[in-house]
Symmetry: C2
Subunit: 261 residues, 2 copies
DNA sequence: GATACCGATTTGGGATACCAAGCTGGTATC
DNA sequence: GATACCAGCTTGGTATCCCAAATCGGTATC
C-alpha cells in the first residue's frame, strides 16, 4: 500500500540502560534480515513474529516448551511491546497458547491433527472445484514445475516446503481468499507434525505421484476425479501421520516434545 | 460456547479521562461489568476487545471509520497497551484493518461477502455431513427450540442473533473444532452486512422455513438432502444480501458506511 | 489563485517502570 | 521427616513516556 520509503529505522537510543546493554541500537546495527522483500523496513513486531514462528515451526523450540516474554525479548533484542504483539499473533495462529498465566509452545495434539485434516479436506476440495471451473487453468503448470524442481539432491527442508506449498498454491488458484487462507493456516498448523513424521522414500514418492495425478485431473477440468484424488490424498496423509506419531510417541517425548491425546 | 450475547455493554466509567492516575488499580476496584460469566475478572484487553467488537458489529462505529488508539484508550478507560492488543486481535478477525499507519473499521466489501459465502458453504456442508453421520443427533432439537423461540414479539436483534447462531450451533454439533470456528468467524464477518440488508417479512419467513427443513433432514440423517438444502440456503442468502447492498449502496454511503467493490 | 514549503500536531511503534498474582525455595514448627 | 508457611523472585498485565513519520494548516512565492 504505501510506497513508503526508506526510513532507516529509528534510532532507539538506549545505549545506557543496564538491562539489555548487549543489544545494539537498531540504527547503528540493523539486524540481518530486518528488511522485507521490498526493502521496506520491517517493524520489530514483524521481525519477532517471523523469527519466532520460524523457530517454532523448525522445532528449535519444542512443542510444549514454555516461553517467557522476557526470554523472547532478550533473544530477539526487542522490547516487550513488539514481543507481546508478536505473541498475540502467534497465538491466533495456534502456534503458541496460554497456559494459565504463561505462554507455551502448542503441543502436538493428535486429535487436533485429525480434525484439521477433515477441515483441510473440506476447504481444499472446495478450492479445487472452483479451480476446475475456471476457464484458464494454465497456472497448474507452475505448480507442476514446482513439484518437478525436487530431485534426489534436494535437501529435505525443500521437499518439506514444496510438499506444503503444493496445497497452498493449489488453493490460491481458486481465487477465493478465504479458502486460500484456510488452507495456508491449516498447513502451518500441520507443519511441525509433518517434520516429526517418520516417512520412508516410498511414501514420499507416492505422495508426489498423487500430487501429479491431482494436477492432471485439474488440467483437464475433471473436478470429480480431482476432488476424489485430493480427498484420498489428504485422508491417507492424515492416517499415516497420526499413526506414525502415535507409534513414535515415546520417542518424541524423550526428545522433549509434548504430544497429547 | 456462550449462549452469549446480551450484555449490553458495561458501564465504562471514564468520566474522568485525561489522566487516569486517579483510577485505582484493577485489583482494588474491578470496573463494573468486567467479570466474565464465571466471575473471573476480565483483563482490560478482553474488555476492550469485547466492547469494541460489539460497537463495530452493532454499527455504532461505521464501516470505513477511522480509529485511533488514543480514542479507544479514552473511550474505554484503558491504556494503550491493552488497547493495542485488542486492536491486533480484532484485526485478525477482519473487523478492523490497517490503512497505512492508522486503523480503520473494515468497509463492507461486496466481493469479500461473495467469497465468504463460498467458504461458508464448504465448511458448513462439511460440518453438516459429519453431524448427519453421528449416532446421536438429538442435539438438533435444541437448535430447533432456539429457532422456535422467535415469534412476532421478538426484537429484531434477537432474530438477527438467532439467525446466525443457527449456523454456528449447527456447525458445533459436528464436533470438529476447526469447522466450527470457521463458521463462527465467517458469520462474524457477515454480521454487519446482514444488519444492513433490507429484508422483508417474507424473506425472513423463507429463511426460517429453510432452517427447519435443514434440521429435518439432519434429524433423519439424510446427509445429501441436508447438504443440498444448506447449500441452496447459503447461496440464496448471499445473492439476496449482495443484491440488496448493491442496490442500496448510495443510501449506505449517505449514512457514512463505506461499501467497496 | 495555485503551489511549494515549513512547522506544529497527531499518531502509531517502541521502551520501560510498576504492580499483583503465582511460583519457588527455604525455614520453622510439630 | 513431613508439612505449613512465608519471603523473594518471576512473570504477565498495565500505564506512561519518547520517538519518528505522517498529516494538517498556514504562509510565502510565483
Amino acid at each position: 500500500m504505501n510506497a513508503s520509503p526508506v526510513a532507516v529505522n529509528a534510532g532507539l537510543s538506549n545505549m545506557i540502560d543496564k538491562g539489555r546493554r548487549d543489544r545494539p541500537t537498531l540504527a547503528s546495527d540493523p539486524i540481518a534480515g530486518t528488511n522485507d522483500l521490498n526493502g521496506t523496513p520491517m517493524s520489530q513486531m514483524q521481525n519477532v513474529e517471523k523469527q519466532l514462528r520460524e523457530m517454532i515451526l523448525g522445532l528449535e523450540i519444542g512443542p510444549g516448551e514454555r516461553l517467557t516474554e522476557r526470554w523472547v525479548e532478550s533473544r530477539f533484542g526487542a522490547s516487550r511491546t513488539p514481543v507481546r504483539a508478536a505473541l498475540l499473533r502467534l497465538e491466533t495462529e495456534g502456534l503458541i497458547c496460554r497456559d494459565s498465566r504463561s505462554w507455551t509452545v502448542s503441543p502436538i495434539n493428535l486429535a487436533e491433527l485429525e480434525q484439521i485434516a477433515v477441515y483441510r479436506e473440506a476447504v481444499e476440495v472446495a478450492a479445487l472445484r472452483l479451480t476446475c471451473a475456471l476457464q484458464d487453468r494454465s497456472a497448474v503448470e507452475i505448480i507442476e514445475a514446482m513439484l518437478d524442481s525436487c530431485d534426489d539432491k534436494t535437501p529435505r527442508e525443500e521437499w518439506h516446503r514444496v510438499g506444503m506449498d503444493f496445497h497452498i498454491e493449489l488453493a490460491r488458484l481458486s481465487g477465493n481468499e478465504f479458502l486460500f487462507r484456510a488452507v495456508r493456516d491449516a498447513m502451518t498448523r500441520l507443519s511441525r507434525a509433518r517434520w516429526l513424521e517418520v516417512r520412508d522414500e516410498a511414501a514420499l514418492d507416492r505422495a508426489w505421484a498423487q500430487h501429479h495425478a491431482i494436477l492432471s485431473a485439474v488440467r483437464v477440468g475433471d473436478a470429480n476425479s480431482a476432488a476424489r484424488l485430493l480427498s484420498a490424498h489428504i485422508i491417507g496423509s492424515r492416517d499415516r501421520l497420526v499413526t506414525s506419531l502415535r507409534n513414535d510417541r515415546r520417542g518424541l517425548r524423550a526428545r522433549g516434545f509434548a504430544v497429547v491425546a
